[in-house]
Protein backbone atom coordinates (compact mmCIF):
# COMPACT_ATOMS: atom_id res chain seq x y z
CA UNK A 1 0.00 0.00 0.00
CA UNK A 2 1.29 3.42 -0.95
CA UNK A 3 0.10 6.29 1.25
CA UNK A 4 0.75 9.89 0.22
CA UNK A 5 0.41 12.55 2.87
CA UNK A 6 0.30 16.22 1.85
CA UNK A 7 1.98 18.61 4.28
CA UNK A 8 1.88 22.36 4.58
CA UNK A 9 4.11 24.83 6.35
CA UNK A 10 2.26 27.66 8.09
CA UNK A 11 2.92 30.65 10.29
CA UNK A 12 2.75 29.45 13.90
CA UNK A 13 -0.99 29.83 14.65
CA UNK A 14 -0.38 30.35 18.34
CA UNK A 15 1.45 33.64 17.92
CA UNK A 16 -0.38 36.09 20.24
CA UNK A 17 -2.48 38.66 18.33
CA UNK A 18 -0.48 41.55 19.74
CA UNK A 19 2.67 40.31 17.96
CA UNK A 20 0.85 39.57 14.73
CA UNK A 21 1.45 42.12 11.97
CA UNK A 22 0.69 42.13 8.28
CA UNK A 23 3.24 43.50 5.83
CA UNK A 24 1.15 45.76 3.54
CA UNK A 25 3.60 45.20 0.64
CA UNK A 26 3.05 41.46 0.47
CA UNK A 27 -0.27 41.07 2.33
CA UNK A 28 1.45 38.37 4.36
CA UNK A 29 2.45 38.19 8.00
CA UNK A 30 5.64 40.18 8.61
CA UNK A 31 8.72 38.07 8.10
CA UNK A 32 10.48 37.23 11.31
CA UNK A 33 7.44 37.99 13.44
CA UNK A 34 6.82 34.34 14.07
CA UNK A 35 8.08 30.81 13.47
CA UNK A 36 7.04 28.60 10.61
CA UNK A 37 5.68 25.22 11.66
CA UNK A 38 3.98 22.20 10.13
CA UNK A 39 0.23 22.75 10.03
CA UNK A 40 -1.28 20.84 12.93
CA UNK A 41 -3.95 18.88 10.99
CA UNK A 42 -1.28 17.98 8.42
CA UNK A 43 0.78 16.64 11.31
CA UNK A 44 -2.21 14.55 12.48
CA UNK A 45 -2.47 13.23 8.91
CA UNK A 46 1.23 12.37 8.90
CA UNK A 47 0.91 10.54 12.21
CA UNK A 48 -2.12 8.60 10.91
CA UNK A 49 -0.21 7.68 7.72
CA UNK A 50 2.77 6.33 9.67
CA UNK A 51 0.51 4.33 12.02
CA UNK A 52 -1.32 2.72 9.10
CA UNK A 53 1.93 1.89 7.30
CA UNK A 54 3.32 0.20 10.40
CA UNK A 55 0.31 -2.15 10.47
CA UNK A 56 0.62 -3.29 6.86
CA UNK A 57 3.48 -5.34 5.45
CA UNK A 58 5.29 -3.56 2.65
CA UNK A 59 3.33 -0.32 2.95
CA UNK A 60 5.16 2.95 2.34
CA UNK A 61 4.53 6.61 3.12
CA UNK A 62 5.45 9.47 0.81
CA UNK A 63 5.27 12.96 2.30
CA UNK A 64 4.55 15.64 -0.29
CA UNK A 65 4.86 19.37 0.15
CA UNK A 66 4.22 22.20 -2.26
CA UNK A 67 6.47 24.92 -0.96
CA UNK A 68 9.70 26.89 -1.27
CA UNK A 69 13.08 25.89 0.16
CA UNK A 70 12.08 26.97 3.65
CA UNK A 71 9.40 24.28 3.77
CA UNK A 72 12.10 21.60 3.68
CA UNK A 73 11.75 21.76 7.47
CA UNK A 74 8.36 20.05 7.39
CA UNK A 75 9.73 17.32 5.13
CA UNK A 76 12.70 16.77 7.50
CA UNK A 77 10.13 16.43 10.25
CA UNK A 78 8.24 13.90 8.14
CA UNK A 79 11.48 11.94 7.73
CA UNK A 80 11.97 12.08 11.50
CA UNK A 81 8.46 10.58 11.78
CA UNK A 82 9.96 7.81 9.55
CA UNK A 83 8.27 8.66 6.26
CA UNK A 84 9.87 6.49 3.55
CA UNK A 85 10.17 9.16 0.90
CA UNK A 86 9.68 12.92 0.81
CA UNK A 87 8.96 15.11 -2.21
CA UNK A 88 8.96 18.85 -2.53
CA UNK A 89 7.41 20.55 -5.53
CA UNK A 90 7.89 24.23 -6.23
CA UNK A 91 8.06 26.96 -8.82
CA UNK A 92 8.80 30.61 -8.10
CA UNK A 93 5.59 31.53 -9.95
CA UNK A 94 3.57 29.78 -7.23
CA UNK A 95 4.04 32.38 -4.52
CA UNK A 96 0.33 33.33 -4.27
CA UNK A 97 -1.59 30.14 -4.99
CA UNK A 98 -4.95 29.43 -3.43
CA UNK A 99 -6.32 26.10 -2.23
CA UNK A 100 -7.86 25.24 -5.57
CA UNK A 101 -4.62 25.72 -7.50
CA UNK A 102 -2.69 23.82 -4.82
CA UNK A 103 -5.21 20.96 -4.98
CA UNK A 104 -4.85 20.85 -8.76
CA UNK A 105 -1.03 20.85 -8.75
CA UNK A 106 -0.81 18.28 -5.93
CA UNK A 107 -3.19 15.98 -7.82
CA UNK A 108 -1.08 16.22 -10.98
CA UNK A 109 2.04 15.55 -8.89
CA UNK A 110 0.46 12.53 -7.20
CA UNK A 111 -0.26 11.05 -10.62
CA UNK A 112 3.53 10.99 -11.12
CA UNK A 113 4.26 9.20 -7.86
CA UNK A 114 3.27 5.80 -9.21
CA UNK A 115 0.45 3.71 -7.84
CA UNK A 116 -1.15 5.52 -4.90
CA UNK A 117 -3.79 3.89 -2.65
CA UNK A 118 -4.53 6.56 -0.09
CA UNK A 119 -3.99 10.32 -0.05
CA UNK A 120 -4.19 12.12 3.29
CA UNK A 121 -4.25 15.83 3.93
CA UNK A 122 -5.14 18.06 6.85
CA UNK A 123 -8.75 19.15 6.71
CA UNK A 124 -7.92 22.85 6.80
CA UNK A 125 -4.59 24.65 7.27
CA UNK A 126 -4.43 27.20 10.05
CA UNK A 127 -3.19 30.09 7.90
CA UNK A 128 -5.64 30.70 5.06
CA UNK A 129 -8.17 28.12 6.32
CA UNK A 130 -9.82 27.31 3.02
CA UNK A 131 -10.51 23.61 3.48
CA UNK A 132 -10.50 23.02 -0.27
CA UNK A 133 -7.33 21.07 -1.13
CA UNK A 134 -8.65 17.59 -0.27
CA UNK A 135 -11.92 17.74 -2.19
CA UNK A 136 -10.30 19.45 -5.18
CA UNK A 137 -7.55 16.80 -5.32
CA UNK A 138 -10.13 14.01 -5.20
CA UNK A 139 -12.11 15.54 -8.08
CA UNK A 140 -8.94 16.00 -10.14
CA UNK A 141 -7.93 12.39 -9.45
CA UNK A 142 -11.53 11.15 -9.96
CA UNK A 143 -11.48 9.24 -6.69
CA UNK A 144 -13.71 9.41 -3.61
CA UNK A 145 -13.03 11.83 -0.79
CA UNK A 146 -14.15 11.69 2.82
CA UNK A 147 -13.75 14.88 4.82
CA UNK A 148 -13.15 15.38 8.56
CA UNK A 149 -11.82 11.87 9.16
CA UNK A 150 -10.73 11.29 12.75
CA UNK A 151 -9.61 7.65 12.49
CA UNK A 152 -9.50 4.80 10.02
CA UNK A 153 -8.24 1.29 9.41
CA UNK A 154 -7.66 -0.87 6.37
CA UNK A 155 -9.76 -4.00 5.80
CA UNK A 156 -8.47 -5.54 2.58
CA UNK A 157 -9.15 -3.19 -0.29
CA UNK A 158 -11.56 -1.11 1.73
CA UNK A 159 -10.82 1.47 4.39
CA UNK A 160 -13.19 1.87 7.28
CA UNK A 161 -13.14 5.57 8.07
CA UNK A 162 -14.75 7.40 10.97
CA UNK A 163 -15.66 10.97 10.15
CA UNK A 164 -17.23 13.73 12.15
CA UNK A 165 -20.83 14.72 11.57
CA UNK A 166 -22.84 17.56 13.07
CA UNK A 167 -24.24 15.32 15.76
CA UNK A 168 -21.61 12.65 16.24
CA UNK A 169 -19.78 10.32 13.91
CA UNK A 170 -20.35 8.32 10.77
CA UNK A 171 -18.52 5.15 9.81
CA UNK A 172 -17.89 4.81 6.07
CA UNK A 173 -16.59 1.97 3.91
CA UNK A 174 -14.37 3.58 1.31
CA UNK A 175 -12.83 1.75 -1.66
CA UNK A 176 -9.22 2.62 -2.47
CA UNK A 177 -7.78 4.77 -3.91
CA UNK A 178 -9.32 7.63 -1.93
CA UNK A 179 -8.56 11.00 -0.37
CA UNK A 180 -9.20 11.66 3.33
CA UNK A 181 -9.03 15.06 4.99
CA UNK A 182 -7.91 14.55 8.57
CA UNK A 183 -8.91 16.21 11.82
CA UNK A 184 -7.22 15.69 15.16
CA UNK A 185 -8.34 12.92 17.48
CA UNK A 186 -7.11 10.79 20.34
CA UNK A 187 -5.82 8.31 17.77
CA UNK A 188 -3.58 10.60 15.74
CA UNK A 189 -1.76 12.67 18.36
CA UNK A 190 1.63 13.37 16.71
CA UNK A 191 4.52 11.35 18.13
CA UNK A 192 7.68 12.77 19.59
CA UNK A 193 10.26 11.62 17.03
CA UNK A 194 13.14 9.54 18.38
CA UNK A 195 16.47 11.35 18.63
CA UNK A 196 17.98 8.72 16.33
CA UNK A 197 15.30 9.33 13.69
CA UNK A 198 15.75 13.09 13.88
CA UNK A 199 19.47 12.61 13.30
CA UNK A 200 18.94 10.21 10.41
CA UNK A 201 16.40 12.59 8.86
CA UNK A 202 19.08 15.25 8.42
CA UNK A 203 20.99 13.29 5.83
CA UNK A 204 18.12 11.67 3.93
CA UNK A 205 17.40 12.96 0.41
CA UNK A 206 14.48 15.24 -0.44
CA UNK A 207 13.21 14.65 -3.94
CA UNK A 208 12.67 17.97 -5.68
CA UNK A 209 10.25 18.46 -8.53
CA UNK A 210 9.61 21.57 -10.59
CA UNK A 211 7.00 22.74 -13.04
CA UNK A 212 8.78 20.96 -15.93
CA UNK A 213 8.67 17.60 -14.17
CA UNK A 214 4.86 17.50 -14.31
CA UNK A 215 3.59 16.87 -17.81
CA UNK A 216 0.51 18.57 -19.10
CA UNK A 217 0.01 21.10 -16.30
CA UNK A 218 -2.77 23.48 -17.32
CA UNK A 219 -1.20 26.88 -16.70
CA UNK A 220 -4.59 28.49 -16.09
CA UNK A 221 -5.43 26.05 -13.30
CA UNK A 222 -2.05 26.83 -11.71
CA UNK A 223 -3.25 30.40 -11.18
CA UNK A 224 -5.19 31.42 -8.08
CA UNK A 225 -8.94 31.57 -8.73
CA UNK A 226 -9.23 34.39 -6.21
CA UNK A 227 -6.81 37.27 -5.61
CA UNK A 228 -6.21 38.69 -2.16
CA UNK A 229 -6.50 42.45 -2.63
CA UNK A 230 -6.20 43.74 0.89
CA UNK A 231 -5.65 42.49 4.42
CA UNK A 232 -6.69 44.27 7.56
CA UNK A 233 -6.21 43.44 11.22
CA UNK A 234 -9.32 44.22 13.24
CA UNK A 235 -9.08 45.76 16.66
CA UNK A 236 -10.84 43.09 18.68
CA UNK A 237 -9.71 43.65 22.22
CA UNK A 238 -12.70 44.14 24.45
CA UNK A 239 -12.55 45.66 27.89
CA UNK A 240 -12.74 42.80 30.27
CA UNK A 241 -14.29 43.57 33.62
CA UNK A 242 -12.53 41.40 36.17
CA UNK A 243 -14.78 40.40 39.06
CA UNK A 244 -13.15 39.89 42.42
CA UNK A 245 -14.34 38.79 45.80
CA UNK A 246 -13.07 37.45 49.08
CA UNK A 247 -14.39 33.95 48.47
CA UNK A 248 -16.00 31.82 45.80
CA UNK A 249 -19.58 32.46 46.79
CA UNK A 250 -18.99 36.20 46.76
CA UNK A 251 -17.51 35.98 43.27
CA UNK A 252 -20.36 33.72 42.15
CA UNK A 253 -22.85 36.21 43.57
CA UNK A 254 -21.42 39.22 41.80
CA UNK A 255 -21.14 37.24 38.54
CA UNK A 256 -24.79 36.21 38.79
CA UNK A 257 -25.86 39.80 39.51
CA UNK A 258 -23.81 41.04 36.58
CA UNK A 259 -25.40 38.50 34.22
CA UNK A 260 -28.89 39.39 35.45
CA UNK A 261 -28.09 43.05 34.90
CA UNK A 262 -26.93 42.31 31.34
CA UNK A 263 -30.15 40.30 30.77
CA UNK A 264 -28.29 37.35 29.27
CA UNK A 265 -29.84 34.73 31.51
Amino acid sequence: MHIVVCLKQVVDPEIPPRYFKIDPETNRPEAGSSDMVMDSYAENALEAAIQLRDKIDGATVTALCLGDEESEDVLRRALAFTADQVVRIWDDEWEDLDGQAVGYILAQTIKRLGEVDLVLTGYQASDIEEGLVGTVMAEELSIPCVTLVSEFEAEGNVIKAVCETETGHAVMDVPMPAVFTIVSSEKNVPRLPKVKDVRLARSKPIKELGIDDIEGLDSELCQPAFTLQKVFVPDRDVNCEILTGSDDSQIANSLTDKLLELKVL
Binding site: P13, P16, P17, G99, Q100, Y123, Q124, S126, D127, E129, E130, G131, G134, T135, V136, E139, E140, I143, P144, T147, S150, K160, A161, E164, T165, T167, G168, M172, V174, P175, A178, V183, S185, E186, V189, P224, A225, F226, Q229, K230, V231, F232, V233, P234, R236, D237, V238, C240, I242, T244, D248, S249, I251, A252, L255, L259, L260, L262, V264, L265
Partner: protein, 326 residues
Protein backbone atom coordinates in the same frame (compact mmCIF):
# COMPACT_ATOMS: atom_id res chain seq x y z
CA UNK B 1 -32.94 35.11 -14.96
CA UNK B 2 -31.20 34.67 -11.65
CA UNK B 3 -27.58 35.65 -11.14
CA UNK B 4 -27.08 34.08 -7.72
CA UNK B 5 -28.16 30.58 -6.70
CA UNK B 6 -28.30 29.56 -3.05
CA UNK B 7 -28.27 26.00 -1.81
CA UNK B 8 -31.01 25.94 0.83
CA UNK B 9 -31.02 22.85 2.95
CA UNK B 10 -34.51 21.67 3.97
CA UNK B 11 -35.98 18.90 6.08
CA UNK B 12 -39.62 17.88 5.63
CA UNK B 13 -40.37 21.13 3.83
CA UNK B 14 -38.76 23.41 6.41
CA UNK B 15 -35.58 25.35 5.78
CA UNK B 16 -32.59 24.80 8.04
CA UNK B 17 -31.10 27.65 10.02
CA UNK B 18 -27.99 27.83 7.80
CA UNK B 19 -30.22 27.97 4.72
CA UNK B 20 -32.07 30.97 6.18
CA UNK B 21 -28.76 32.70 6.81
CA UNK B 22 -27.53 31.94 3.30
CA UNK B 23 -30.74 33.35 1.84
CA UNK B 24 -30.32 36.53 3.90
CA UNK B 25 -26.73 36.84 2.69
CA UNK B 26 -27.92 36.28 -0.89
CA UNK B 27 -30.71 38.83 -0.54
CA UNK B 28 -28.26 41.49 0.62
CA UNK B 29 -26.01 40.64 -2.31
CA UNK B 30 -28.96 40.85 -4.70
CA UNK B 31 -30.06 44.21 -3.32
CA UNK B 32 -26.63 45.80 -3.58
CA UNK B 33 -25.89 44.46 -7.05
CA UNK B 34 -29.46 44.68 -8.46
CA UNK B 35 -29.73 41.04 -9.48
CA UNK B 36 -32.24 38.28 -8.88
CA UNK B 37 -31.56 35.25 -6.72
CA UNK B 38 -32.62 31.64 -6.88
CA UNK B 39 -32.61 28.82 -4.38
CA UNK B 40 -32.05 25.11 -4.92
CA UNK B 41 -33.88 22.58 -2.72
CA UNK B 42 -33.33 18.85 -2.67
CA UNK B 43 -35.28 15.79 -1.56
CA UNK B 44 -38.78 15.09 -0.31
CA UNK B 45 -40.39 18.35 0.79
CA UNK B 46 -38.38 20.47 -1.69
CA UNK B 47 -41.63 22.00 -2.99
CA UNK B 48 -42.69 23.25 0.45
CA UNK B 49 -39.13 24.36 1.16
CA UNK B 50 -39.24 26.28 -2.12
CA UNK B 51 -42.23 28.30 -0.90
CA UNK B 52 -40.35 29.23 2.27
CA UNK B 53 -37.24 30.10 0.23
CA UNK B 54 -39.35 32.46 -1.89
CA UNK B 55 -40.78 34.04 1.27
CA UNK B 56 -37.17 34.47 2.44
CA UNK B 57 -36.09 36.35 -0.66
CA UNK B 58 -35.66 33.93 -3.56
CA UNK B 59 -37.15 34.99 -6.91
CA UNK B 60 -37.00 31.48 -8.30
CA UNK B 61 -36.71 28.11 -6.59
CA UNK B 62 -35.22 25.08 -8.33
CA UNK B 63 -36.33 21.77 -6.90
CA UNK B 64 -35.28 18.15 -7.23
CA UNK B 65 -37.93 16.34 -5.21
CA UNK B 66 -36.31 12.92 -5.36
CA UNK B 67 -36.32 10.76 -2.18
CA UNK B 68 -32.82 9.50 -3.06
CA UNK B 69 -31.73 12.94 -1.77
CA UNK B 70 -33.45 12.65 1.62
CA UNK B 71 -30.22 11.57 3.26
CA UNK B 72 -27.12 13.65 2.53
CA UNK B 73 -24.70 11.87 0.24
CA UNK B 74 -21.88 13.88 -1.22
CA UNK B 75 -21.75 12.37 -4.77
CA UNK B 76 -25.52 12.72 -5.24
CA UNK B 77 -25.70 16.21 -3.79
CA UNK B 78 -22.74 17.43 -5.89
CA UNK B 79 -24.41 16.17 -9.04
CA UNK B 80 -27.84 17.59 -8.11
CA UNK B 81 -26.57 21.05 -7.15
CA UNK B 82 -24.39 21.25 -10.30
CA UNK B 83 -27.44 20.36 -12.42
CA UNK B 84 -29.57 23.05 -10.76
CA UNK B 85 -26.79 25.62 -11.12
CA UNK B 86 -26.45 24.89 -14.82
CA UNK B 87 -30.19 25.06 -15.40
CA UNK B 88 -30.47 28.33 -13.47
CA UNK B 89 -27.70 29.92 -15.60
CA UNK B 90 -26.51 31.73 -12.46
CA UNK B 91 -22.88 32.83 -12.07
CA UNK B 92 -22.61 32.68 -8.30
CA UNK B 93 -23.43 29.68 -6.15
CA UNK B 94 -23.71 30.29 -2.42
CA UNK B 95 -23.75 27.52 0.13
CA UNK B 96 -23.31 27.46 3.88
CA UNK B 97 -19.79 26.22 4.72
CA UNK B 98 -21.20 23.81 7.28
CA UNK B 99 -20.64 20.04 7.44
CA UNK B 100 -22.20 19.56 3.99
CA UNK B 101 -20.55 22.65 2.56
CA UNK B 102 -17.14 21.35 3.61
CA UNK B 103 -17.78 18.31 1.43
CA UNK B 104 -19.41 20.10 -1.45
CA UNK B 105 -17.68 23.43 -2.10
CA UNK B 106 -14.39 22.18 -3.56
CA UNK B 107 -16.03 19.36 -5.50
CA UNK B 108 -18.73 21.46 -7.09
CA UNK B 109 -16.31 24.27 -7.97
CA UNK B 110 -13.98 21.80 -9.68
CA UNK B 111 -16.83 20.24 -11.65
CA UNK B 112 -18.13 23.63 -12.77
CA UNK B 113 -14.61 24.99 -13.49
CA UNK B 114 -15.62 27.73 -11.09
CA UNK B 115 -13.54 29.65 -8.56
CA UNK B 116 -14.13 28.65 -4.93
CA UNK B 117 -13.90 30.71 -1.78
CA UNK B 118 -14.84 29.53 1.71
CA UNK B 119 -15.52 30.87 5.22
CA UNK B 120 -16.86 34.11 3.73
CA UNK B 121 -18.43 36.38 6.37
CA UNK B 122 -19.23 39.50 4.35
CA UNK B 123 -18.94 41.20 0.98
CA UNK B 124 -18.60 44.67 -0.51
CA UNK B 125 -20.23 45.48 -3.81
CA UNK B 126 -17.93 48.01 -5.47
CA UNK B 127 -17.73 49.53 -8.94
CA UNK B 128 -14.94 47.16 -9.99
CA UNK B 129 -16.73 44.07 -8.72
CA UNK B 130 -17.55 42.19 -5.56
CA UNK B 131 -14.99 41.97 -2.77
CA UNK B 132 -15.46 38.84 -0.67
CA UNK B 133 -14.37 39.15 2.94
CA UNK B 134 -13.15 36.26 5.04
CA UNK B 135 -11.04 35.79 8.15
CA UNK B 136 -7.49 34.48 7.76
CA UNK B 137 -4.73 33.47 10.19
CA UNK B 138 -7.14 32.21 12.82
CA UNK B 139 -9.30 35.35 12.68
CA UNK B 140 -6.32 37.55 13.48
CA UNK B 141 -6.84 39.28 10.14
CA UNK B 142 -9.42 39.66 7.38
CA UNK B 143 -8.76 39.43 3.67
CA UNK B 144 -10.65 41.02 0.79
CA UNK B 145 -10.69 38.82 -2.29
CA UNK B 146 -11.76 39.26 -5.89
CA UNK B 147 -12.58 36.38 -8.22
CA UNK B 148 -10.59 35.72 -11.37
CA UNK B 149 -13.28 33.61 -13.00
CA UNK B 150 -16.83 34.34 -14.06
CA UNK B 151 -18.43 31.43 -12.25
CA UNK B 152 -17.81 31.28 -8.54
CA UNK B 153 -18.79 29.12 -5.59
CA UNK B 154 -18.97 30.90 -2.23
CA UNK B 155 -19.04 28.99 1.05
CA UNK B 156 -20.31 31.27 3.80
CA UNK B 157 -19.46 30.78 7.44
CA UNK B 158 -22.48 29.85 9.56
CA UNK B 159 -23.59 32.39 12.16
CA UNK B 160 -22.12 35.32 10.27
CA UNK B 161 -25.37 36.63 8.74
CA UNK B 162 -28.51 37.80 10.51
CA UNK B 163 -31.59 35.83 9.51
CA UNK B 164 -34.13 38.02 7.71
CA UNK B 165 -37.83 37.76 8.46
CA UNK B 166 -39.84 35.76 5.95
CA UNK B 167 -42.42 37.67 3.91
CA UNK B 168 -45.33 35.35 3.02
CA UNK B 169 -46.58 37.81 0.37
CA UNK B 170 -43.48 37.45 -1.83
CA UNK B 171 -44.04 35.54 -5.04
CA UNK B 172 -41.72 33.58 -7.25
CA UNK B 173 -41.65 30.64 -9.60
CA UNK B 174 -40.86 27.05 -8.67
CA UNK B 175 -38.94 25.18 -11.36
CA UNK B 176 -38.36 21.42 -11.20
CA UNK B 177 -34.86 20.40 -12.32
CA UNK B 178 -34.34 17.32 -14.43
CA UNK B 179 -31.45 15.36 -13.02
CA UNK B 180 -30.75 11.67 -13.48
CA UNK B 181 -29.39 10.44 -10.16
CA UNK B 182 -30.00 6.71 -10.25
CA UNK B 183 -26.75 6.02 -12.14
CA UNK B 184 -24.48 8.07 -9.87
CA UNK B 185 -21.79 5.89 -8.31
CA UNK B 186 -21.84 6.28 -4.57
CA UNK B 187 -18.25 5.44 -3.70
CA UNK B 188 -18.06 5.80 0.07
CA UNK B 189 -20.81 3.76 1.73
CA UNK B 190 -22.31 4.81 5.02
CA UNK B 191 -22.08 1.87 7.44
CA UNK B 192 -23.22 3.39 10.67
CA UNK B 193 -24.13 6.69 12.29
CA UNK B 194 -23.20 7.29 15.90
CA UNK B 195 -24.96 10.12 17.69
CA UNK B 196 -23.34 11.51 20.77
CA UNK B 197 -24.58 14.31 22.93
CA UNK B 198 -24.75 14.84 26.66
CA UNK B 199 -27.66 17.25 26.67
CA UNK B 200 -30.53 17.68 24.28
CA UNK B 201 -29.66 21.16 23.06
CA UNK B 202 -27.53 21.49 19.94
CA UNK B 203 -24.51 23.76 20.39
CA UNK B 204 -25.47 25.77 17.32
CA UNK B 205 -28.95 26.46 18.72
CA UNK B 206 -28.03 27.04 22.35
CA UNK B 207 -28.52 30.51 23.80
CA UNK B 208 -26.14 29.68 26.63
CA UNK B 209 -22.98 27.57 26.30
CA UNK B 210 -20.65 26.47 29.08
CA UNK B 211 -17.35 25.31 27.55
CA UNK B 212 -14.31 23.66 29.05
CA UNK B 213 -10.69 23.60 27.94
CA UNK B 214 -7.36 22.05 28.75
CA UNK B 215 -7.38 23.84 32.12
CA UNK B 216 -10.08 21.48 33.39
CA UNK B 217 -7.54 18.69 33.48
CA UNK B 218 -9.95 15.75 33.35
CA UNK B 219 -13.18 14.43 31.88
CA UNK B 220 -14.98 14.38 35.25
CA UNK B 221 -14.90 18.18 35.38
CA UNK B 222 -17.29 18.25 32.43
CA UNK B 223 -20.10 16.90 34.57
CA UNK B 224 -19.70 20.02 36.73
CA UNK B 225 -20.07 22.11 33.58
CA UNK B 226 -23.10 20.07 32.56
CA UNK B 227 -24.74 20.81 35.89
CA UNK B 228 -24.16 24.53 35.42
CA UNK B 229 -25.43 24.31 31.83
CA UNK B 230 -28.59 22.54 33.04
CA UNK B 231 -29.40 25.41 35.39
CA UNK B 232 -28.94 27.86 32.52
CA UNK B 233 -30.85 25.69 30.06
CA UNK B 234 -27.73 25.64 27.93
CA UNK B 235 -25.35 23.25 26.22
CA UNK B 236 -21.83 22.10 27.05
CA UNK B 237 -18.96 22.74 24.65
CA UNK B 238 -15.25 22.09 24.65
CA UNK B 239 -12.01 23.17 23.02
CA UNK B 240 -10.04 21.10 20.56
CA UNK B 241 -7.48 20.34 23.28
CA UNK B 242 -10.17 18.91 25.57
CA UNK B 243 -11.62 16.81 22.75
CA UNK B 244 -8.21 15.56 21.64
CA UNK B 245 -7.48 14.54 25.21
CA UNK B 246 -10.56 12.31 24.99
CA UNK B 247 -12.41 14.05 27.84
CA UNK B 248 -15.48 14.64 25.68
CA UNK B 249 -16.49 13.48 22.17
CA UNK B 250 -15.35 15.62 19.26
CA UNK B 251 -18.83 16.92 18.48
CA UNK B 252 -18.57 19.00 21.65
CA UNK B 253 -15.88 21.01 19.93
CA UNK B 254 -16.46 24.73 19.56
CA UNK B 255 -14.10 26.51 17.21
CA UNK B 256 -13.29 26.84 13.62
CA UNK B 257 -13.14 23.09 13.13
CA UNK B 258 -16.03 22.25 15.39
CA UNK B 259 -19.23 24.19 15.89
CA UNK B 260 -19.31 27.88 15.06
CA UNK B 261 -21.64 29.34 17.67
CA UNK B 262 -23.26 32.68 18.49
CA UNK B 263 -24.92 32.32 21.90
CA UNK B 264 -26.12 35.19 24.09
CA UNK B 265 -23.85 33.93 26.84
CA UNK B 266 -20.63 31.93 26.49
CA UNK B 267 -18.91 30.81 29.68
CA UNK B 268 -15.33 29.71 28.97
CA UNK B 269 -13.91 27.62 31.77
CA UNK B 270 -10.21 26.75 31.84
CA UNK B 271 -9.90 27.89 28.24
CA UNK B 272 -6.72 29.74 27.29
CA UNK B 273 -8.18 31.26 24.12
CA UNK B 274 -6.35 29.76 21.13
CA UNK B 275 -7.30 31.57 17.94
CA UNK B 276 -8.80 28.39 16.51
CA UNK B 277 -11.27 28.44 19.38
CA UNK B 278 -11.92 32.18 19.37
CA UNK B 279 -12.92 32.14 15.72
CA UNK B 280 -15.74 29.78 16.65
CA UNK B 281 -17.17 32.27 19.16
CA UNK B 282 -16.56 35.48 17.20
CA UNK B 283 -20.29 36.30 17.29
CA UNK B 284 -21.00 35.33 20.89
CA UNK B 285 -22.66 38.29 22.62
CA UNK B 286 -21.38 38.09 26.18
CA UNK B 287 -18.30 36.04 27.02
CA UNK B 288 -17.40 35.15 30.59
CA UNK B 289 -13.92 33.71 31.20
CA UNK B 290 -13.07 31.71 34.28
CA UNK B 291 -9.39 30.89 34.38
CA UNK B 292 -6.70 30.88 37.05
CA UNK B 293 -4.14 32.34 34.65
CA UNK B 294 -4.73 36.10 34.51
CA UNK B 295 -2.49 36.32 31.43
CA UNK B 296 -4.57 33.91 29.31
CA UNK B 297 -5.56 35.41 25.92
CA UNK B 298 -9.22 34.58 26.62
CA UNK B 299 -9.36 37.67 28.85
CA UNK B 300 -8.74 39.79 25.74
CA UNK B 301 -11.97 38.47 24.26
CA UNK B 302 -14.09 38.13 27.41
CA UNK B 303 -16.46 40.83 28.62
CA UNK B 304 -16.39 39.53 32.16
CA UNK B 305 -13.46 37.74 33.76
CA UNK B 306 -12.97 35.72 36.90
CA UNK B 307 -9.41 34.84 37.83
CA UNK B 308 -9.93 31.84 40.05
CA UNK B 309 -9.84 28.08 40.27
CA UNK B 310 -12.88 26.69 38.46
CA UNK B 311 -13.05 23.73 40.87
CA UNK B 312 -14.57 25.89 43.59
CA UNK B 313 -16.09 28.73 41.58
CA UNK B 314 -18.26 26.56 39.31
CA UNK B 315 -20.10 24.70 42.11
CA UNK B 316 -20.62 28.02 43.92
CA UNK B 317 -21.96 29.61 40.75
CA UNK B 318 -24.28 26.67 40.04
CA UNK B 319 -25.65 26.86 43.56
CA UNK B 320 -26.30 30.62 43.49
CA UNK B 321 -27.85 30.52 40.02
CA UNK B 322 -30.18 27.76 41.19
CA UNK B 323 -31.31 30.02 44.02
CA UNK B 324 -31.72 33.13 41.92
CA UNK B 325 -33.16 31.85 38.67
CA UNK B 326 -33.86 28.15 39.19
Amino acid sequence: MVKVLIYADQLEGKLGSNAREALSFGTLLAESTSVKIGAVLLGTGAGDGAKEAIACGADQAFTIENPILDEFQTDLYSKAICAAFQQSEADILILPFDRKGKDLTGRIATRLSAAAITEVVDFKAEADGIKWIRPIYGDKAYGEYTANRKKIVVGIRPKSSEKKEADENRTGSIIPVNCELSKVTVAAKLVEKIESSLSGIRLEDARVIVSGGRGLGCSEAFSELQELANVLNGAVGATRAACDAGWVPSNFQVGQTGAVVAPDLYIAVGISGASQHLSGIANAKTVVAINNDAEAPIFKRANIGVVADYKTVIPALTKILKQKIG
